[in-house]
């Protein structure tokens, strides 16, 4: 729900407070205040250039807000070291952007940044969850687009994020693969009771996946609420 100076709430995991991002003359994100409760799945919809991805990038602090801030479990996220913040607020990008090496190397990437070494069983479990069991030693250059996106999801999950940001995770995939990856994401979110924000241009996908819908236009929030109450064209 949109907020106006609401203090951080115990069930609220993520809250944006007059969040804005201006680049040159363009107001990419314009004064957005929302709060997301634990377990919410928020679909961010809107036309191209509405600021959906820009909003998501601010949540992961890949871009710096020009005004306002984000509260993560009641803490201003500027007070949290960026590396810790990004571990807690994981992000799956439109393209998988796998690092050269094996699938296992990619799964290990996040934990190794903190000096943690995942046991092989954990790597295998993560791969099983994304339907890629037995792929640990495969070179990533031999994966299909759908497989690469699944590995990318497993790589993000390896960091055990509290909030998962998904930036059009199926848009770079062919139609046949899209639905499979979407179903996989849905099942993982529900199994782990993850709080999730998904950017999508597909309103049907939003209706299928989300508990809440957030509609943006020209960087501004125009609608926000439970999916059954919001009419999305």
């Amino acid at each position: 729900m949109p907020t106006e100076g609401i203090p951080p709430h115990s069930k609220v995991i993520l809250q944006t407070d007059h969040l804005s991002h201006v680049s040159g003359d363009a107001h990419l994100v314009d004064d957005i205040s929302i709060q997301v409760e634990e377990g919410d799945i928020v679909a961010i919809v809107g036309p191209s250039g509405a600021g959906k991805s820009s909003f998501l990038r601010l949540l992961n602090r890949l871009d710096e807000p020009t005004a306002g801030t984000v509260w993560l479990e009641g803490i201003d996220y500027r007070m949290i070291p960026p590396q810790e913040l990004r571990r807690r607020v994981g992000m799956l990008m439109q393209s998988p952007y796998l690092f050269s090496g094996t699938v296992a190397d990619n799964i290990h990437f996040g934990p190794r940044q903190r000096g943690e070494e995942l046991p092989p069983e954990t790597v295998e479990q993560l791969l099983e969850r994304v339907g890629m069991a037995g792929y640990a030693d495969r070179d990533v250059s031999n994966l299909s687009g759908g497989e690469a996106q699944r590995v990318s999801l497993a790589r993000t999950l390896a960091n055990s994020p509290e909030v998962l940001l998904l930036d059009e995770p199926t848009s770079a995939l062919d139609e046949a693969t899209q639905r499979g990856v979407e179903d996989l994401i849905c099942s993982i979110i529900h199994q782990q009771d993850l709080t999730c924000l998904i950017v999508t241009h597909d309103t049907q996908q939003a209706a299928r996946m989300a508990t809440h819908v957030m509609a943006l236009e020209a960087g501004r929030l125009v609608k926000y609420g439970p999916v059954e109450e919001i009419h999305i064209a």
Binding site: R86, R87, G90, M93, Y97, G110, Q113, R155, T156, N159
Partner: protein, 266 residues
């Protein structure tokens, strides 16, 4: 033919320069016929180049007669100018001048000081200035190439770098492949110089030494020494500059600030 007409070497030089300029302008005219307009740029470059080199010649004349500290100051001034020129290749990256200054100072400075101390470079001004300037000039070119390549590699792989950041990686960890690519690419001309030495080109220093009466075999060996020193100075410069520049493409909040469309200006 000209040397019979002009006995004064400076007058002879001016006439030779005028003839070479006419030749260059002839090429400009030829280009103009093809609607390629190089007139203004070439004219400015010719005048600038002539004035600069004559000034340098005059300064060298003074330096050759002056004390050693004057040469050191001249080399430091060259490093300063080299850093300023090389930094232009990294526009959009904050602090590129200081990175270039440190890189070139370290790379060429270390080689000049250590090689002079060991006696590989003669400490006489007549040797120190030309050899030192060669090392600095090549370090400058390598530094420019390294920074330019690093910038384009980072912009081309912004998504990959941000994927690393989004997974909680330390910024300098995310640009390791870009640093490697920049150092490798910047040293290609230096490696090619070593490979082609004596086969494709006989460098000016060796030719000059032979003309001055030095034993051709010694001149050839010393030319190899100079090219190897150039490689060392360039390599050190490239490594130091890219290691220093890598953290400057990120903001204090560990955000990639060098992204396509944001800092593409040269």
């Amino acid at each position: 033919m000209l040397d019979h007409l002009f006995l004064d070497p400076r007058a002879l030089g001016l006439v030779q320069a005028a003839i070479a300029t006419l030749l260059a302008l002839g090429v400009v005219l030829l280009a103009r016929c093809q609607r390629i307009h190089l007139e203004r740029e070439t004219l400015v470059a010719l005048v600038r180049g002539f004035v600069q080199i004559v000034v340098v010649g005059s300064v060298l004349l003074l330096l050759l007669q002056g004390p050693l500290w004057a040469s050191v100051i001249a080399l430091l001034a060259m490093i300063l100018a080299a850093a300023s020129i090389a930094a232009r290749r990294a526009r959009g990256i904050p602090g590129a001048f200081w990175v270039s200054l440190l890189g070139i100072s370290f790379g060429s400075g270390l080689v000049i000081v250590s090689m002079t101390w060991l006696g590989v470079i003669d400490s006489a001004v007549s040797s120190l200035i030309p050899v030192g300037s060669m090392l600095i000039a090549n370090a400058m070119n390598t530094n420019g190439l390294a920074l330019d390549r690093f910038r384009s590699e980072v912009q081309a792989h912004a998504g990959q770098i941000e994927a690393g950041l989004a997974l909680g990686a330390e910024p300098k960890q995310t640009v390791v492949p870009q640093v490697q690519a920049a150092v490798e690419a910047s040293l290609i001309p230096r490696i090619d110089s070593l490979r082609s030495l004596g086969i494709v080109w006989i460098p000016g220093l060796m030719a000059g030494m032979i003309l001055a009466g030095t034993d051709p075999v010694y001149a050839a060996i010393y030319q190899f020494v100079v090219i190897a020193m150039i490689f060392a100075a360039s390599g050190l410069t490239s490594i130091v500059s890219t290691l220093l520049i890598r953290s400057r493409v990120f903001s204090p909040a560990q955000q990639l600030i060098l992204r396509p469309g944001i800092n593409s200006g040269r």
